[in-house]
Amino acid sequence: MISLRNKFTSIITLLFLVSCKTKDAFEIKVYNLNNEPNALNLVTVNPKNIVHECIFLNAEAENKWRYQYMMYILNDQKEVIPVMYAIHQEKSVCNEHLKKVEKIIKQNDLVKLCLREILKNDSTSAEYIKFGQLGKFPIKFEPLTFGSICSANKCYNSNSAWTHTCPGFQISND
């Protein structure tokens, strides 16, 4: 009887661990665009592996308005993939974008992102990004371009400028 109970406990523990592992998932699928192979990346990731910010570019003179939205995704190899918004934005517009993304990543255990460009290694980067209690990890790739983020029941797109997006995502009408 005790042995049976131990087995049952082991199975429950194993199931718990497997389910935790699933929530830590990082998956990347790559798709071709018309004339650009591997230029669309469909990333599935746990939101705790995402941090994001609006960075002031400190440009000169009449360009003081420029902010760059940056997202950082920690992959399963403990390497950071940077993601940038396609164009510079004024501070309030950048923060508005950040809040929309934040709303999706705060309420979900897994999110899907459609990101553009070919993922390339960046051996020149010496930058580390802090992911809360997970620690600091190095940027190992060149930035991808933000397109869309979706949870199980909600999507936010900033891809109205494009002709194609990842399978299962929609071009926004903005």
Partner: protein, 220 residues
């Protein structure tokens, strides 16, 4: 750059006929002495349309088409070709501004969206309100060749925004070369347009990434 020639003339005090009124029964008023810019030293909306509509575009360099997978990526190609050629010739720019550089710049500023949400910068080339003032100031940084009576609303129209952007970029090329003390590369000109050539920002590399990506695709 621009040939040194007379850009302004003095209009002396002279009488002007007006509709007679109780206040002015003889119907003549005196106009004080003032300065007037000579034709060919400025562009207003009417002149912009006149030039664009009559420009011979058959043999001028045009930007690469259909390379970017972006909505509306070709819609300003004619305007880019016309105004790049116009200012290259007007200012005798050496080496001339490259049409693909301007197309990639526009893509990196707005993704070819006519008026991206931005309370500070306007239109497809993201011209700031401050820049609009500078390019219309007869005593300002670009007094050699200015625009006249262009409003913020006009900049939402690429017919106006593109010539303004190309003229501004021609000036930025000059500025970059003066800062560097040598000919500027296309990336350095773009960095100057974005106010990042001499910025100490750690994000200069990323700031140029989008432009570089678009430019490389156009040149493939």
């Amino acid at each position: 750059m621009a040939k040194k020639s007379k850009k302004i003339t003095i209009v002396h005090t002279h009488p002007r006929r007006v509709k007679p009124s109780v206040k002015n029964p003889i119907g003549v008023t005196i106009v004080d002495e003032h300065l007037r810019r000579l034709p060919g030293t400025y562009l207003d909306e009417l002149e912009i349309y006149k030039i664009a509509n009559s420009y011979k575009i058959k043999n001028i360099p045009r930007p690469s088409k259909n390379k970017l997978n972006m909505e509306g990526e070709n819609k300003c190609d004619d305007l880019i070709a016309i105004w790049t050629d116009y200012f290259n010739n007007l200012f005798s720019i050496k080496p001339p501004l490259d049409v693909d550089m301007i197309k990639a710049l526009v893509g990196s500023e707005s993704e070819f969206i006519l008026n991206p949400k931005n309370p500070v910068a306007i239109g497809i080339a993201q011209i700031t309100k401050e820049t609009l003032k500078i390019i219309q100031d007869p005593n300002g940084e670009v007094k050699g060749f200015i625009f006249n009576k262009i409003s913020q609303k006009d900049l939402k129209n690429p017919d106006i925004a593109i010539p303004v952007a190309v003229r501004w970029l021609a000036y930025k090329k000059e500025r970059a070369e003066s800062k560097l003390g040598r000919a500027a590369t296309h990336e350095e000109i773009i960095l100057e347009y974005k106010g990042l050539l001499k910025s100490k920002s750690d994000y200069k590399k990323n700031a140029l990434k989008k432009y570089r990506g678009l430019y490389d695709k156009l040149k493939k």
